[in-house]
Amino acid sequence: MLIKSLAAEWLKMRKSYIWSILAALPAVSILIGTANYYANKSVLTNGWYSLWTQVSLFYGEFFLPVLIAICCAYLCRLEHFNKNWYQVMTAPVSRSAIFISKLAIAGIMMLIVQAFFLLLYFCAGKVLGLASPFPIETVGWMSRGLYASIAISAVQLALSIRIRSFAVPIGISICAAFIGLGMYVMKLGMFYPYSLLTIGIGALSQESLTIAENGLFLAMNSLFIVIVSAIAIRYLSKRDVVA
């Protein structure tokens, strides 16, 4: 049942133009971050790490949360059109399969975005002629960023299922990202999904997380994914949909 739901979700996304947006936003982040690094090369002397500070700052702080929100709103957009929620809810698939399949597709899209961003970062470093070896920490930043993206995806999907408007959940995401920045500054980042992305991706601090911090990071993200998914599935099961 879940496989069929996944196939149906993938079918909706496969030939959509959303991919051009998914490619454009990381590209803009890399382009501006690289230009800024090049302009301030005399101050930014730590090679790949300095380049990472420039490209990941705005990407991890603002672009990625909004990109996730756009993906999630898009995943629910078709259902909000032409009374399609009625069709989805009367299909012989469980409510949890509907939500989990959407979340899985959002996760796959984020994986592709992260891989593309990493590739662009590598190319930017090579174009700038960075001689030092490629930092292995980027794999950790990217994978932690991906896991935090899935937690945010769960929140955004829940919002996009509940709110019919395409724009409102995206607006909420930018506000939430800013609140996340405040939570990070107040050292409460581990308890808020949008700050977990900042921590995971190393947007503001490139220091490695300790084993305990990594454990807490994984636990908090898992907790957010489970709780928010349970709330969203319960909402789909208990409330009458308004298509």
Binding site: S16, Y17, I18, I21, A24, L25, V28, S29, I32, A35, N36, A39, F58, F62, F63, V66, L67, I70, A73, Y74, R77, H80, F81, R164, S165, F166, A167, V168, I170, G171, I172, I174, C175, F178, I179, L181, G182
Partner: protein, 249 residues
Amino acid sequence: MKAILLEFYKLRRKRVFLMIVLFLLVEISWAFLSVSMAMSRNPDKAGWEGIVVTIASMNGLFLPILSAVVVSRISDMEHTGNTWKLLMAASLPRSRIYAAKYACACLLMLLAMILLSIAIATFGLANGFAQPLPLSLLLRFVSGTMLANMAVIALQQWISSAVKNQAFGLGLGMVGGFIGMTADLFPEAVRRIFVWSYYTGLSCVTYKYENGTMEFVTRSVEPALPLAVVLMGGAVYLIGSIHMSRKEE
């Protein structure tokens, strides 16, 4: 006028105003926190210029996205309800309908600007700034920001009306916000190509670095800059209006 009122009537239960207030709350909270921290470090630099310039630079990020959200709400209700055909069959020229939607978005953003100015004034008065409330400075701030907003709204409205998939409009708003925030890092010639750079470009207060310290300087904006925004905004509005008037729904 009736067409504009009808646009507001359609929006009455869309909670657009709530969205605007939420956005502004986040923006002003962040700006006031930042200015309060700066004031506690340098109490002698506490003044209206600091808060105006901070808000102006944050507007570069927030207002393109807020404009995209507001315009998307106004256009998407027609896409979602399949009402473009109905609207275009009304006994009104299509250009008037397009103009009414544009005016509605501009008025909503003007309201946001007024709220922002009230917040700035309240912050300054609450913190006991030495200078009296600079009404002319606030007026210049609102008019400069609103001019940039009008050009951005023209672009967003074209995209949001022409492309049913609102992801494009909001993606553009996001890119605009990013450019608006980082515009001051670009060379002058490059910066002026992007309409989002004018949020800081038309600001009546700017930063100036002298002997390693940052000063806030009040300036008079060169007449070429507002003219450039009006030309860009006007051109995009006309293209959008003509395109939507001739488009088969």
